[in-house]
Structure formats: structure tokens, C-alpha cells
Symmetry: C2
Subunit: 342 residues, 2 copies
Amino acid sequence: MKLKEFARQLGLSPTTVSRALSGYPEVSEKTRKRVAEEAVRLGYRPNINAVRLVTGRAGAIGVVMGRTAEFHFAEFMSGMAERLDGEDIDILVSPTADRDSTDDVPLYSRLVTSGRVDAVIVHSPKPNDERIALLHRLGFPFLVHGRSETDVPHAWLDIDNEGAVRRATSHLLDLGHKRIAMINGRPGRTFSLHRDKGYRDALSERGIPFDARLVAHGNFTDELGFRFARSFLEQSPRPTAFVAGSMMTALGIYRAVRSRGLVVGRDVSVIAHDDVFPYLTAENMGPSLSATRSSMRAAGARSADLVLQLLSGRPATEIHELWPVELILRESTGPAPPEAQS
Amino acid sequence: MKLKEFARQLGLSPTTVSRALSGYPEVSEKTRKRVAEEAVRLGYRPNINAVRLVTGRAGAIGVVMGRTAEFHFAEFMSGMAERLDGEDIDILVSPTADRDSTDDVPLYSRLVTSGRVDAVIVHSPKPNDERIALLHRLGFPFLVHGRSETDVPHAWLDIDNEGAVRRATSHLLDLGHKRIAMINGRPGRTFSLHRDKGYRDALSERGIPFDARLVAHGNFTDELGFRFARSFLEQSPRPTAFVAGSMMTALGIYRAVRSRGLVVGRDVSVIAHDDVFPYLTAENMGPSLSATRSSMRAAGARSADLVLQLLSGRPATEIHELWPVELILRESTGPAPPEAQS
DNA sequence: TTGAAAGCGCTACCAG
DNA sequence: CTGGTAGCGCTTTCAA
């Protein structure tokens, strides 16, 4: 059913029907109501592609899915979907075969010029991120999930990675730990750098020297968590505590600790960052995992919300949100073992 | 830059340019080449919404993201993206706030009539799935990832869940296990039913009676894996082996086994289904996890491929693929402990 | 408050 | 092989 046909059945002009459906003020309440009801009854829905052509809006927000970050990503998108429900805005996942293409500049370029999306969300930026520069140059609306250090003004939403890790590390120091290892995220990303900073600052506050041999960077996989933890535990004296970038990393660390005949929470303490997954919970690990905690789903929902604001004209320079991170203590953290105290 | 303007700069008609860019055969090779080069040079890209309006194609494949299945889902989508790269077809994730909305019929209905997508992929069907009936009724192209038992002819891609679990169970029986528990997926879904069947058939082949107290159904989370495994292990005699529906479930089982002071691979054997995640690997669990294995990413890529075939006219009735599943034995499986043999 | 008509940018039919 | 042109279905001036 087309607009023309539908309008004729109502005895109205296409103009009036269009206005009624779009909620324009100049249509009488009575007419609007009638149109709305009949649309449902007769199953009339405007052709979305015609609407898009004429309005110039794509009706979608673009995201680029990198191969490495995807278990976070699904949660984020889920949150977006939650917020976008009923908004008539879609989420467009940009196809790419690239391995680590979250920062594939040509891809963003294509996405923007293709007219498929009204805005894009940039994930895991670097301090000096080319994607941000590109998007700004093109004058295209975008929101950064994370932070960069670019001069370019832009909208962003981030969690306080630095503060979270500082607190986690300080807490371990409070417990008497002196050799604290950190298995951080991909090198070069701002969130990893912020976490590095939080870690170093906490150490230096207590006058504990930074030891580069206790810090590693890489993707958030159980595999790397295990490998790095194994190698750290071979040092002498070995670390008595770990700060980990993700739940998957923590799984690897737990396994490494056990494989050395040690016990998590007694011989070795672990604090990880928990993005709050429905299928893998810090509380349910054995022993339950102390964690810095911030919901990826909530970030996705709020990001969608902010993009919507951006699209309705709120200046990007006004849109900056830094979320605090909770530190939740469970069984995986305990006092440093006596032999390490000495 | 619009087509008209671009064509004028080339000294050609819009018609010819359009045809050249779309690869129509009636354009001379020379002209086509020139047009293609100039398009890149001048940065001309057809307005996608105009193309969509006039062709009636949406240029996107729709997927509905359920809240519960999402860690599989990201892998699947990643695979789709891999295949769709360069095809000028997007993946559209349909926004929904519903908890378990993978089979939200009104949602599919809206998705189809909205004109946003050319085809949809249906996940985790039930034997008699309403979504399939709906899509068939509407005459809309779709591919089912999984199987149903409906009479409606349709395209599908599935893995051999029944065979996989039959082999896993048989293997455990070969090892002397007699009380084998199964923690399966969501009740009512065809894949869960197929796995149930594989399990029961393997038992009955050996004349071992089916015991409903050893089977549970639910979402694939570590939490449920743990809870079910705990409760099974409280039985007397307790099960000496588990068949698990997912890696997350297996994590929960491992923890439950350990929490009872038992050892996986010695006191209790575990085989799980592994969808092959980059961030959590069966091989890296402790002990390494024996698994039935089939790549979700590969399924996503192939599904996208099949949808493309569907859209280019291949009959849905021809598109049926059943993928075999590997059984990979690692350390989590071993002979039934002697006391259980008796 | 309602309607007529001019496009949005492109494809595809029909001519040449 | 190339070009003119009629729409695709809708929104939005402008006029009534």
C-alpha cells in the first residue's frame, strides 16, 4: 500500500496523511487520530527508502566490528538496540574481513560517504586517532566510545579506566602486595594507556618502583592471560597479585596460578575489569573474582542516546561523559602471603 | 556530487554512467574504465537511498539479536561480515528491548514490512517456529540457522547437533561411564531437542536407561553450568561425566567439580560443544576441554553466502546444508573411575 | 487546517 | 553502444 492509495481510501490528500503520520502540529487532532488508526488497520507503512531519499537521512547508526573486541562488542550493541527500540533507527554493522579493523580508516571513509548511516560510533580510540581526524574533516557526526587526546572537538563517552585501575592497585597495595603484575589491553589504545597510568600512579604514591617486567599488553583472551601470567609467575620473587584487563584474561590467570599449584585469593590475588556479561560472571568464578565493574550494555544504551542527541542538534562539544567504575571485592583478593611481605 | 553533474563532467549521459558503474554489458569497455576511474578521482558515489528507492532493494540482511545468545551471535555476525565485505550489502541488527526476543514474531513482521532488509536470518528455531511460518506467509526471503520441523519449504544451514552429542555420549560410554549428565540449551529449541535425541540414542544403543534427573536445559551461562552441575553431583551415585552445551556451561561445570574436591578428567569427565571463540579456547582450559567443535564464524560466513544466493534467485528448497561436527578429545575426558565401574 | 505539485537522485525503459 | 525521460514513494514548499 502506497501513500497515495492509502490517502484516497481515507478521503484525504497524501500531504495531510504524511503530516498526520509525522506528527506535524498543523493537523487537527481528530484527523491525526483517524489517520493513525487507519494506518494500523490497513497496514500502511511509509516506504523507508523513499523517506530516506527525500529527507536525506539514513535512519541508521554505523558501527565497525573488530575481530578482537567482539565479546564486549555484542554487549555494547545489545545496549544500543535497547535504547534504539522504537526510534526507527537501525544499527548498521559494517562488513569488513579485516582482522583488526576497528581502526580501518578507509572503511570509515566508505561508511560515511556511502550515505548508509547518519552517524558512526568509534571504538577503542588511540590518543591520536586517525578515524577521529577523518570524521571531523568530513564533518560527519560521530561519538567516540573511549577517549583520545586529539585537539578535534568531539562527543565521547568513556569509563574512568585510570581511576579504576588506580583504586584496584591501591587496594592490592593496602593488602601488603608489593609485586603486582598487570595484564593490560591492546597496546596503543587510550584505555590501555589510562590503565597503565592508574597502575603507575598507585605504585608511585606508595613509593614502589615501577617494574616493566610486570606489565604486559595484548588482546583480551584467556590464552594471553594464561601465557603472560605463567611467565610472570616464573619470576623470582614472583608477583603476588594481578590486575587484569578482562574476564577472559582473568580466566587465563586463574588457570596459570592453579597450574603452578598456587591458590587464587591466598597465594595470588587477582582483580580484573568486568564489563558485566550475562553469560560469565565475576561472582561465579572460583574463587569469586574481585573486579572493577562497569556495564558495557549500559554504555551502549547511553551511547545510542547521545548519538540521538547529536543528531538532533546538540553540539558535540557538550557531549562528554566520564563514568565512574565500581570496585567490588570478592574472594580473589587477600592479604599478601607472609613470605612476600618480607 | 550527483550523477547528473558527474555525467556532465565526463561528457556522457547519466544513463551511460549509471550503466558503466553497475557493470552493464552494453557499455564499451573503454567507457566503463574511464567512468570507473573518474568516479574514484572525483569521489562520485551513487546515493544509496536513491538506488534503493528505485530498485526496491534494501541492500541489507537483517538479523535479530536476542539477549541470551549473544556471545555466539557476535561470532556469527563476524562471519557474515567477512563474507559480505565488498558486496555492498549491510548487516542490519534489529533493535529490540525484549529479553529473549529472538523469536519475537511482531518484530520480524515489522522488519520485513519496513523495507529495511532484503532477507532475514532466523536463529535458534523451534520445531514449529512461528517466525518461519510468518516469513513464508509474507513471501519474504529468509534463511534459518538451525532447523525446524515445519512443512514450509525454506533455506537452512545447521550443524549436526544430534550426531555430535551422540558421538560425545558414545565416547563417554566407551570410557566406561554409565551415569552421564547433560546440560543442554534452552528448552524447546530444535538444537536442544536434537542434542537430547543424540544423547538418548547413544544411551539406548548400549542399553543404558535414560534418567531424566541427569538432564537439564537452560541458557548457556557459567552460572547455570555451575548450578546444574552442583545439583547433579549431589546425587548418589553421582554422575561421572558431563555433556555440556557450551563453553560457558563447561566453565561452570569445571568450577562445580572443583568445588566438590573432584578433578576434571579423572573423577569427572566433561565434553562440551565449542563454537570456536577467539577469546576462550577449549584447548586452553585447565584441564584442556574435550569438545564437539564447529565454527560459528564459518556458519555466519556461509549463511551470508547462502542468503546472497537466495537473493539472486536460487530456490530456497535447494538450500539445505548440514554440517558435520568434529569431536576433539583432550584432557577433560578419561576412563570412568573404578568405584563407578562397579 | 488542507491540498497541489515540485522534486529527492537514481535506474531502466524505449528510442536511436 | 549511447541518450532522453518517466517514474520509484515520499516530504515539503507554496498556495488556498
